[in-house]
């Protein structure tokens, strides 16, 4: 346990270091770092509406982050969450506008289809990883491009809503994921994300299957020796990760946009992977890292309006944080683990 705290402390220091570098970057564009910070905080947490806005940004990062946690804990790297999100979002929308069903049932069906779409989209990379040990990083990242293009094609050429826009018809209200407050688009997706984080945490710490999965991630040879069916488990874990990725897309489509459009929700899959890595693969930790990224994003929207600093500054700072934290993880691994080859990703 103290190990975990140690590593979180190291990462907090890395983030501070990155913020320091960020301050220097801000100075170079003739803006005051303090003012930028105040604006960021104000933009992220200034009033209930803005807090809701931050949580709205947090939700997809959180759910994608949980998808990443599932694979990372198993020593696998599903970097195709982006594609699963697009697929989940598109097919949930399709259910949303194509069928007329009673309210709750319609929503549940659309969510289920989002999950199945995410699973379907990772099934091939998962099969090849399990059966032929094909590198899942490469295959899932390639699947991203295909997913984005396929959904874009379907949207523009087959399911386009009449009129000038590159988007599908809106979904019926019976498929809406309800909003939490009247003043924001923040919806039940956040609750789903939080419950999911707790459930995944419970799975890994309290359930025997979760134990088997995390031991496979920690030391696959040990797991194999202990009688765990590695191949089958790799397949199942990647499917589960893809399912959550698809769910993230469903939540965005049914809770926020109520339709699918070209460039639906770019980048959330990658943000999720980074949030999960920063959280050491812990789903509970991911709640906080996702909130951190959500606040950065949401705060940066006000930053652009209220200061002369452009939003790209935040992208630069985000990149600096990622760099500093991954450097910190790498250095720590070199220093402490003489058998680093044992595990592909260390938490």
């Amino acid at each position: 346990m103290s190990d975990r705290i140690d590593s979180l402390l190291g990462q907090a220091l890395a983030i501070l270091f990155a913020l320091g570098l960020g301050a220097i970057v801000i100075l170079t564009v003739d803006e005051s770092p303090l003012r930028v910070l105040v604006t960021l905080l104000n933009g992220a947490f200034g009033n209930p509406e803005r807090i809701a806005g931050t949580l709205l940004q947090t939700t997809p990062i959180l759910i994608c982050g949980i998808a990443a946690c599932i694979s990372l804990r198993a020593g696998l790297f599903n970097i195709g969450i982006e594609g699963q999100l697009f697929m989940g979002g598109f097919w949930a929308t399709w259910v949303g506008f194509s069928f007329n069903l009673p309210p709750v049932l319609h929503l549940l069906l659309a969510m289920a289809v989002a999950i199945i779409a995410g699973m379907a989209w990772i099934a091939i990379p998962a099969f090849f990883r399990a059966r032929y040990n094909t590198n899942e990083v490469v295959s899932t990242i390639l699947a991203n491009y295909v997913a984005i293009l396929v959904t874009s094609y379907l949207t523009i050429n087959i399911f386009k809503r009449p009129g000038g826009l590159s988007e599908t018809p809106p979904i019926h209200e019976s498929a809406y994921l309800p909003e939490l407050f009247s003043f924001s688009r923040l919806n039940w997706g956040l609750i789903i994300g939080l419950v999911l984080a707790c459930a995944v945490h419970f799975f890994f710490t309290r359930m025997s299957r979760g134990y088997a999965v995390s031991e496979m991630g920690a030391n696959p040879k040990f797991a194999e020796y202990g009688g765990i069916d590695i191949k089958r488990q790799i397949f199942v874990v990647l499917l589960a990760s893809g399912a959550v990725g698809g769910l993230a897309g469903g939540v965005e489509a049914l809770g926020v946009h109520h339709r699918f459009m070209e460039g639906f929700a770019p980048g959330f899959g990658f943000d999720g992977v980074i949030a999960a890595l920063l959280a050491n693969g812990s789903p509970i930790g991911t709640i906080f890292t996702a909130l951190f990224f959500g606040a950065l994003r949401s705060g940066s929207l006000l930053l652009e309006v209220d200061t002369t600093a452009s939003r790209e500054i935040i992208t630069v700072i985000q990149a600096l944080i990622i760099l500093a934290v991954s450097a910190q993880i790498t250095i720590k691994r070199r220093a402490s683990d003489s058998t680093a080859g044992e595990r592909r990703w260390k938490f």
């Binding site: 003739d30 005051s32 003012r35 933009g43 523009i156 009129g163 309006v305 939003r311």
Partner: protein
């Protein structure tokens, strides 16, 4: 004072400094523009108009780049509207329509100007371009030149002109309608071949389709297809034929082969609306400001590299047609 010490002052003075400066400027006119396309053709034109207004009229301008995440749009609009700071907010991009309409309804005191289109909302101000009129001129030029045929260097006797649209949507049909009417009015015997690429983002496809049109006898092809259209222009250079640019000055994309550019002068539109605000003229919510041949908001620019090859009688005829449109003797059809 060196720039580093200025930064230091900025760092120390932080918020107080910022608040003081805002108070001092309270009487200035503040203009914002929000779009994801400030780096691309039409968006650049908007930025140019705003810069000119900044310089000539002394207004303060804020550009807000939407990026590409739909999730962000609403909050970005809210942040602008809520600040209450801006006298006019220009909006460009159809993907922003939902967020725009929602915000405009919630903040009726903020004046949003939607550029290049008209929506249902009565809260919003519209800057619209008579692209049908500009395209009318483009069609007339193309048809008159095609009629000349091989008498003009670089042309054949196919007696046809071409059109490449991005996707088959009403706004593109509006261009096509004007183009067709212009051609028929100027030279009724010229055939028009039109195709739609189905995408705005595929220059290679634009090239391919243009080559096919050239193969069917067209010598001049008008593109209304965004980046896909760049492929049209490049194909004209590759095939040693002619093309017509759209929205902005595209003469330099394939110099010597782009015969003309149909300009939608967003800079003119933006500047004139800002000037109205500075001059204290009220702009009514829901008003539609149309920029046409008459106001100089659309214009057919003959490319300088080609202008000498265009026979004088063609030029004269174009001027006459333009006058007819401006005077209302010719009504150009439109598609909504």
């Amino acid at each position: 004072m060196s720039s580093w010490s200025r930064r230091l002052v900025a760092l120390c003075g932080a918020t107080a400094f910022a608040l003081a400066s805002q108070a001092a400027l309270a009487k200035d006119v503040h203009i914002a523009a929000i779009s994801g396309y400030f780096a691309q053709g039409f968006g650049v034109s908007i930025v140019n108009g705003l810069k000119k207004a900044e310089k000539d009229l002394g207004v303060k301008v804020k550009l807000v780049d939407t990026g590409n995440r739909a999730l962000d749009y609403e909050e970005q609009f809210n942040n602008i509207a809520k600040s209450g700071e801006y006298d006019l907010v220009f909006v460009m991009g159809w993907e922003l329509v939902d967020a725009l309409q929602k915000t405009a309804a919630a903040y009726p005191n903020t004046k949003f100007v939607f550029i290049d289109g008209v929506l249902d909302s009565k809260q919003i101000i519209y800057a619209n371009f008579a692209q049908n009129q500009g395209s009318f001129m483009a069609g007339a030029l193309a048809a008159l030149m095609a009629e000349k045929g091989s008498a003009v260097e670089g042309l054949g006797d196919g007696k046809a002109i071409g059109f490449v649209g991005g996707r088959d949507i009403p706004v593109i049909r509006d261009f096509l309608a004007g183009y067709e009417q212009g051609a028929k009015t100027a030279a009724p015997d010229i055939r028009l071949d039109s195709v739609f690429a189905g995408t705005f983002d595929d220059p290679a496809k634009g090239s391919e389709l243009t080559m096919a049109l050239y193969g069917q006898g067209s010598d001049i092809v008008y593109n209304v297809a965004g980046p896909t259209g760049e492929g049209v222009l490049q194909a004209s250079a590759a095939a040693d034929k002619y093309s017509i640019g759209v929205d902005i000055d595209q003469c330099n994309v394939a110099p010597g082969h782009v015969m003309a550019s149909m300009l939608k002068k967003a800079d003119v539109a933006v500047y004139s609306l800002v000037k109205d605000v500075v001059d204290g003229k009220g702009i009514e919510p829901g008003s539609i400001h149309t920029y046409d041949l008459k106001s100089g908001g659309v214009e057919l620019l003959l490319c300088p590299q080609v202008v000498d090859k265009i026979p004088a009688d063609v030029k004269a005829r174009l001027e006459a047609l333009k006058t007819d449109v401006i005077d209302g003797k010719i009504t150009v059809a439109t598609v909504k």
